[in-house]
Symmetry: C2
Subunit: 424 residues, 2 copies
């Protein structure tokens, strides 16, 4: 007996038929004796339709408060339908819109942050044996107007509800069955992880494993809400995971690393392509020069990924290299040249190369194992892969290589760190 918050994304509730499939998972958990709350997204495609109308009506400058009022209607529909379907299966249920729970947010319309969730109504429902079905993605501002949390906000809603009612687990039902050691399209030996630490998930999410919104993982980590990523399209009546996460579970549990007994040194290998490398040679080194360069880029909303700075021989100049998405390459060059012209910093030469591939290994086990970076470089060298850039963090080591070698590098590292499926 536990308390579980379950969340269904847009593809999981795209039609009434799919809502019925999703509801069977809820019914199973209720019949297992759990207290369950449900958080739902809009039917897939609906939010885009609503956003399209808003753009038609008011262009990009449309009042964000009205944008929120319009766009929030999508989840309202799904929540009501889910409650009806649950009732038709004999599961007592009722729907809530964000303002009815209430889910209090700040006033930042279209990108609101949850401030506080009052658990009183939900606790009363649990006590009465009801399954509350809550609209994801939305809340109510102090002004009394509806807010939305921005794209992917339903994951965040689910985690926040789970934190508010002190749930034992937050199950994120989606169209994939978990988090993989690497992209299965690159190697069939990719393996689903049964557990992954919050920190690992954050590094993997930001590197392109788009299973969970990064914001929801941050919130889950902050409130220590255990997340189970699993597929809506699994047979709801098949044998299930126990809340303690025994082996063979259908899904991946994202949890505190203390809960992961046997830590892998490396849990996953990720790949990001189409990275442009930009180097500024002989940058006149003075305090604040890095802030001047990357401030100029940030002012133009250019997101910088890897950053490497080498100290020069004489200490008066330095070389700075960083990567941006290929799509931002031309804009970045223009911004840098203009900023240098305006005297914000000085350099002798700017050189760039498009089409790099960033390969990273991620794992909390790295913290206690020296030499992970060195072994990674050796594994790549053994395949004749040249490394152009290196960056490291506590639980991640990334290299930039030629795109031609991208798949080869991922497969080599996946095998090297023992991540391959046993039967593959």
């Amino acid at each position: 007996m536990g308390r579980i918050v379950v969340k269904f994304g847009g593809t999981s509730v795209a039609t009434v038929e799919r809502i019925r499939q999703a509801a069977r998972h809820v019914k199973r958990e209720v019949e297992a004796g759990h207290q369950v709350a449900v958080v739902v997204s809009a039917m897939s495609g609906k939010t885009n339709e609503l956003v399209g109308w808003v753009k038609d009506a008011g262009g990009v400058d449309a009042d964000q408060r009205e944008y929120d009022a319009v766009v929030a209607s999508g989840e309202q529909v799904t929540a009501g339908l889910m409650a009806i379907v649950l009732q038709s299966m004999g599961v007592a249920s009722r729907s809530y819109q964000g303002w009815q729970v209430p889910i209090h947010t700040d006033e930042a319309h279209a990108v609101a942050r949850i401030a506080e969730i009052d658990p009183t109504n939900l606790e009363a429902d649990f006590a009465a044996g009801l399954v509350p079905v809550i609209t994801g993605f939305q809340g109510i501002a102090p002004s009394g107007r509806i807010t939305t949390l921005g794209r992917g906000g339903s994951d965040t809603s689910a985690v926040a509800v789970a934190a508010a009612v002190k749930a034992d687990r937050c199950d994120i039902y989606t169209d994939v069955d978990g988090v993989y050691t690497t992209d299965p399209r690159i190697t069939p030996k990719a393996r689903r992880l049964s557990k992954v630490a919050f920190e690992e998930m954050l590094e993997m999410a930001s590197l392109g494993a788009k299973v969970l919104m990064i914001r929801s993982v941050e919130m889950a980590m902050a409130h220590n809400v255990r997340l189970l990523v699993r597929s809506t399209f699994d047979d709801p009546d098949a044998p299930q995971i126990a809340p303690d996460g025994t082996p063979g579970v259908p899904g991946t549990l994202v949890c505190d690393e203390d809960e992961i007994m046997e830590k892998q040194i490396v849990s996953g290998v990720t790949l990001a392509r189409a990275e442009s490398k930009i180097t500024l040679r002989d940058v006149k080194d003075r305090p604040g020069v890095a802030a001047a360069i990357f401030g100029a880029l940030a002012d133009e909303q250019i997101v910088v990924d890897m950053i490497v700075q080498n100290i020069s021989d004489d200490g008066s100049t330095t070389d700075i290299t960083f990567t941006v998405p290929d799509a931002e390459h031309d804009k970045a060059v223009k911004v840098l040249e203009a900023a240098a012209k305006a005297g914000r910093f000085e350099y002798s030469r700017l050189s760039t190369a498009k089409g790099g591939a960033k390969v990273s290994v991620v794992g909390v086990g790295m913290r206690n194992h020296a030499g992970v970076a060195a072994s990674m470089f050796k594994a790549l060298a053994d395949k004749g892969i040249n490394i152009q850039l290196i960056t490291t963090s506590e639980i991640k080591t990334s290299v930039l290589i030629d795109d031609e070698y991208a798949e080869l590098a991922v497969r080599a590292l996946h095998t090297y760190y023992g991540l391959d499926k046993e039967d593959a």
Copy 2:
């Protein structure tokens, strides 16, 4: 300078382009110096889509509270889009959902009645020069859950808002340009009425002139809210009606009969087809026998229209005749026979005829003019039309005739009572 509530139906807001056309009418009124509040329906087709999903999800027994939560989302979308479009035209505006106004209703989900509208927020908007855009068709129950008012409820919402803010007029924008003396498909001589009394509108609405929901007219009459029925598709920049309703106005003003200076004896001629006539011969006459007969029909949701009872010669038996829609004929006969068998009443013979046509003349002027009924019968006799049944009320006289003569009768009466267009 006045205060106007304007309401747009589903066809008037079916697309963003149409919302823009509707908004031009609002802008014109604002620029004329009026304080304006807007009430909107869902985009046409949307409510049906939502109702369809609810049926798919839960069948006909779906929880009405959830039905309301789902179906109310349609108006929410239109209200937000209308506010955005108005803003894009330079008209300061904001949207309200029923619960935000708030529009308080009873707990009768799906068929709720408005209990009270708090005008505080709307008054503040008027004072600040804002145009509030309010979702029609919905409100909030004492339980805090969303309610809907039933089909056509947006007209009722508009009238209730107009009453709450003491508006000078409630403009109902729709896809017809007013109320006509009769169906223009029957005679091209049909003329748009510039004014029609509440009572006349009620009689015409119930007889099939489906321009306004009868409930909203009743409410308008009770609160003396002047209704202007007009077309959204008129050129918003053409010369407009003055609030006092000078001749040549684009639309029909539905108002207290005191406001109509020159009262027509007859304002309109209406036609309802496919009426079945049912006669019970020699009904044993005793107190309560009519209640027994029509109670049996009402128990089965059969709506009875005309009712005629003649006193018999000896006072012990009577003949009772009434009409029901042809579609209800078979069911009505079955109900009557079963009720008689159960001893609820006695008669000697039951005779019926399908396919009658009910022609009515309506006008508040009848009150002060004797002989309207007689002149009607003469006008019909002159065309050789046989009358099967007659019923009368204070402002309406109806006859049932053979359907073959329906158009002939309407055209004859329309001409006889001077309703024909002058240039037709």
